[in-house]
Homo-oligomer: 435 residues x 4
């Protein structure tokens, strides 16, 4: 198969090894990803960000293909039992393609808004191992142990350490694709990095001992700019997109909607148009796989649309606001205002003002902390390897990474409904809690 | 307001004249466009093509803003009563933003698949004039006659001829945005043209008489490459995307689904999950505006998903194929095979093979003709105007346009289910009907 | 070696077969290309167009590498004696890299302005075969017959027809690179085409008989858009850049400078700072290779700068105008004004006005005809080959190419000094010779 | 005038205020910049980097125009005597265009290689004030005091502080253009930043007192990503391009050539083809303006070419190496190896090995330190200004800038001729001075 992708240009999967991709793409479970947006509600802030998990999955498989081709060109450095055999290539391509197949509606948002629903990795594993799923059947037809092996790899476990980290690590194929893809579709120019150069600069590092396969490493000083650029593009995407105030506010609202739904359902209220999986997850924390897979962005938007007419005024109001994009507002806290006491004080003011307006402060006001570690140079760093074989940590040889390692970027915001904006601002300004 | 758009970069609407855009964007009817994909089912062929009417509408308003700014810089060429006043700027921005607000699910596809549903332009007019719509209310609050004036302009009628053609013409702001946008999101590089240069090369032409406002014209030889490139990018987009075999095949399938639905509903069958507007359109050709607006891609995908379990085997089968993307196949006919007799012969073979498979040939086989005029140099051509004021038709001074004017590009394909592929190919090849 | 190229991104030549590229790049003759601009004087019209033959040569070798890789992936279609052996790969890479090594200052302009200097292909051949040249020595060190084989291939002759056409044909690697490169550096967006898709769509065609290697062909309907886009991008580049009025006018001026120089030298005048090769070419039509290679843009600009102080007022004036970019002006003739009689009349007027100003009409006025065939579907067309092996001419299956084949685009302009502009315009307008 | 620029797209200067640009472009001094490459010898490392000061100057003027337009849209914030009058716009455009007009051959390289030649800013001032220069005459024709005013502004002095910093500051129009331009022509993707967003995020800051004009400031949190991206793109360009090993090595070689030339000239040796300005600068430290302007890349390359035949073997050898790009090699020192003692030790080894080869260690070996401060948050920081008027330093509100301010990036390399490479490596490795 050959197709055109805005990120990678010409994308093709051909020959016996790569045929697994086309076979998997035709399954019901993969096709469902066409109806799940990659960035949840981010298109409320970035109108272009309407891309789905489906194109990202193809992109991740494509990056894996590029990476495997590159690593195979370095095969002579490895003992034959550590090389990328056909079996392993099939495994790796399948893992890259399927790594996100278990996502619920609105991607990550669903699992954070409904923790009892389980993490998407668990659902991915379930899809891989469930004999009823088409994905399982396609894999099994290739080779009976393939479903299990792919499930291991998706979870970052593989006898070849370099392959495990390529699927799940600091610089994995998932990140490689989503950074570029999210930057492209949002139009945020800052997320770009040079994928060709990045892959090209990877090589095999020093194995721990003679029996284990080596980790991935970076090729001397030449590879550093690609790594730096990757790290920075990720940092920029967090700052600009993933932590954007309208994204965080709308995510807060959806969380409120699901919280309210849970309360109502647990109280025995009958609510129209609740997807069966959602109902059972809210009340029992369980759902069948088939019900879970019936949920996607379309079905959840459909439900939210219906709930606007629900007798519960809070549920109806939150849904109406989200559907018509009347989003909650935010104030970002800087400096002294981020101290625990100050934060608490700001939150209390907002809660009080909410009550005055007759709004439930638990659902209408929040203190939102978004945090990320830009560069985790931790347990398994991607070492820089020099021509003579000496290795160093990236932070030792990179000016930029040296200054970022171990740091944590945090953005703290008060989220609140527009109704209390003027009063809130006045009170916070009086206390010097907003600049 | 200010936002980032992947096509136009920084997009802003500021000041009193442009405030209409933000006000309209917040309406329910505009927010609904977030759930209607710009290219219907094209993402089945181009995974990136998941963009919606919402971002296109903003883009069209942005192009209108650029155009108005440029035309105002040429104001001294016009008598004052033909200039772009504040009122007219509001009118023009609103018309650009709202020109597609009446689209049904899957955009153009809905109206071609369900002709009794009316054209989207009619629904747009209805939204503009219906006192219950939020769009109408926003416009009326600006100025009581604004809804009616915008409705006229959306339909290409305005006392200033150059403004009418900017909203609805061969080179209108709608096309300017969608060519660039569709090219970007599909990843098809060929649809690009230089928008800045294009707008820059526009000027006022020669009015018909002293009383009428002039049409738009192109600035001498300098503007020609922009026009040529625009025409070619449109031609390429038709060849590559809008007429892509997988797009046409999936559109055919959706048309079949709606046709089957209509038949069943008219026969009095009860079918689950039919949106009220769809039910009444199928049976009476009418629908209330509010029901119509309840339909979007999400709701229709939801219905199609449900119909997979319908007792009618044909409806269920077609829906299952579409949801899991088991698309019909196509053979393109070239040369002699496009003669009426040959086409009929090919179609008959396909219909016969379908019957053998137990499939209804009316719903499973078709002869699809996609046609477009690449350059219509007709009644109101965009004249090329030279420094001394002499004008010529583009076809007279452009090598390329001369060769394209009045031409018609046509692609003819047989559409059929995969089941009959092998036999069909053999029979057609024997008759030399496929290359 | 690995380097970064703005057009192709990461460019690398590695392994034994590709090592020829690095070895050749280090020769004196290739390094000289750093001082010869790809587009002669076009940077007078497009300030960005300052790129040289050196980067283009690398680009052409890179495209050749991509093409060879693709063709090798189709090797099983060929008998083994028609495949791309290591020898042939070396040959092909060297030919792509060296195809322009014989260019004089300002590239093509030099040979058209000084026809007695010989064509650049002749100089290329001479460099390849001259035992003193470093290029020759590098090639000979690889294999004694290599210089001769590369010389044959550069001139479009090779036992493998598909390889001959890849070096010198309608769609050769030279064009592939320069269209993209010239578009990038001028900033003219229109010259882009999808190189990956283009190469990907090439395959082996039908050989004439069992003994000859097949030509290149295009892979069915899928490859057509790439071909069309290539043809159009070339057409656009001619219209926009190569035939740009300021380019043509400055080329005319340089031609005049060299003509005047020749006249003076042949009359025995002593002129300072004439490069030895130029002196002997003007007077005897001959030059030694080493003298020829001492000429480049730098040395010719140096000479032109010096000639501004020449006692001959015509030579001094023309050089002064060119150095300070006081270019001649142009009027383009359209329609009836391009008839032989009209053209002659326009030229006569300009010549008369020149004489009035005391300027030599032979050097200060001209009628410039720039012409190109956008798509030559002639003796050796790139056939389109369908899955069953049937082939058709591109013009038969492509709407666009059908309308372009055999056509000729022509732009006719009067070139004249600014001094006579006003009077010339008045006289031409009175006769309706300019719009 | 209107032209197409690869960086900024459509560039135009129109109307009375902007006509200064076209008038200045036609001067001899500006046209000379067509023959001076922006990045000196960087095209030896990045083949695409062949762009000149001429296109950069146009780009800087274009950025100034964008900036002035933006600032004028904020005029109501200023008292009328601090606004951008027509006079000041002319001044600012001229200063942006002319800021680099005094550069010698190979741009910055010339002044660092030949310190006695004076800094390019001095030559710029001289050109502006010299009554013989065409630039001076054009300016004076606009307004007699204009040459002096532009000279002040070019040197960063102006009554409007915000204008002074726009010409010469941390975020001036010069940097805005060259970062984008150098990134484009080298093909290094990392140097990109969003110019539109950047300019858009600028506003007027808080003036020191009522009488002084305000500085530029950044608009709240919204403008931060643009600033961060600007700072990082600059850092990347230093790492990747300006400090590239081949650039530094070739610059070292040219410095050696000029040093040797100076020695020879001061010793009274006669050397062919020395540009008069270079001869007098080397011997007296002075040169006439007209002689200075006769030097450009072309003339210096011409001289270097001639010097290959000079009787002095050192001069001839260095020139031959540079012309045929047989560059010196480098070893970068990291960590402990950058301690003063270690550096000295490494240098001594290299010097000793050079002597063994019979090469003058002063000209053939060096310790090269390239250093830059990525973000100087010093005396006049670009403050971030929040809606209520409170201001903060960028480092206080930006995670990234906080980690970069006051830092210094340094790259230390040993530069040496290829002849001693093997021995040098062995000795350095033995001492663990290279990784």
């Amino acid at each position: 198969m050959i197709l055109r992708d805005p990120i990678h240009g010409l994308v093709s999967f051909e020959g016996a090894e790569e045929s697994i991709v086309e076979a998997l793409l035709e399954t019901r479970e993969m096709q469902r990803l066409r109806r799940i947006r990659q960035l949840g509600l981010a298109s409320l802030a970035y109108p272009g960000a309407e891309h789905t998990r489906f194109s990202h999955a193809i992109g991740a498989a494509h990056v894996m293909k590029l990476l495997l081709n590159h690593l195979r060109s370095l095969h002579e450095e490895l003992p034959f039992w550590q090389r990328i055999t056909s079996d392993r290539k099939v495994e790796a391509l399948a893992a890259a393609l399927l790594h996100d197949v278990g996502h619920g509606p609105f991607s990550h948002l669903f699992e954070s808004a409904l923790p009892e629903g389980g993490r998407h990795e668990q659902w991915t594993t379930r899809i891989l191992l469930d004999e009823q799923s088409e994905v399982h059947q396609v894999l099994r037809n290739y080779e009976p142990t393939l479903p299990k092996r792919v499930a291991e790899l998706v979870n970052g476990r593989h006898e070849l350490r370099y392959l495990a980290r390529a699927v799940s690590g600091i610089f994995d194929v998932d990140r490689c694709d989503y950074l570029l893809r999210d930057a492209y579709f949002t139009g945020v120019g800052y997320g770009d990095f040079d994928l060709d150069w990045f892959i090209r600069s990877l090589r095999f590092g020093i194995p721990e001992n003679e029996l284990t396969a080596p980790p991935l490493a970076v090729d001397g000083a030449r590879g550093l700019p690609a790594i730096e650029s990757f790290v920075l593009s990720r940092l920029f995407m967090f700052q600009q997109v993933y932590f954007h105030k309208a994204c965080r506010a709308s995510e807060w609202m959806l969380t409120g909607i699901l919280a309210r739904l849970r309360t109502l359902l647990c109280a025995g209220k009958r609510i129209a148009a609740v997807p069966p999986a959602l109902a059972s997850l809210c009340t029992t924390g369980e759902a069948t796989l088939s019900e879970y897979l019936d949920m996607d962005d379309s079905s959840l938007w459909h439900s939210i649309g219906q709930w606007r007419a629900d007798p519960d005024p809070v549920l109806a109001d939150l849904c109406e606001r989200l559907v018509s994009r009347r989003l909650f507002k935010t104030y970002e806290l800087y400096g002294d205002a981020t101290e625990p006491g100050a934060k608490r004080q700001a939150l209390e003011i907002a809660r009080r003002l909410c009550k005055v307006e007759g709004l439930d402060p638990d659902l209408y006001v929040g203190l939102d902390t978004a945090a990320v570690a830009p560069f985790d140079d931790g347990d398994e760093p991607l070492m820089v390897i020099f021509p003579e074989g000496e290795t160093r940590r990236p932070g030792e040889v990179s000016f930029l990474l040296n200054r970022l390692r171990g740091e944590r970027m945090e953005r703290i915001r008060l989220i609140f409904p527009p109704e209390i904006r003027a009063n809130l601002k006045a009170e916070l300004a009086a206390l010097k809690l907003v600049p």
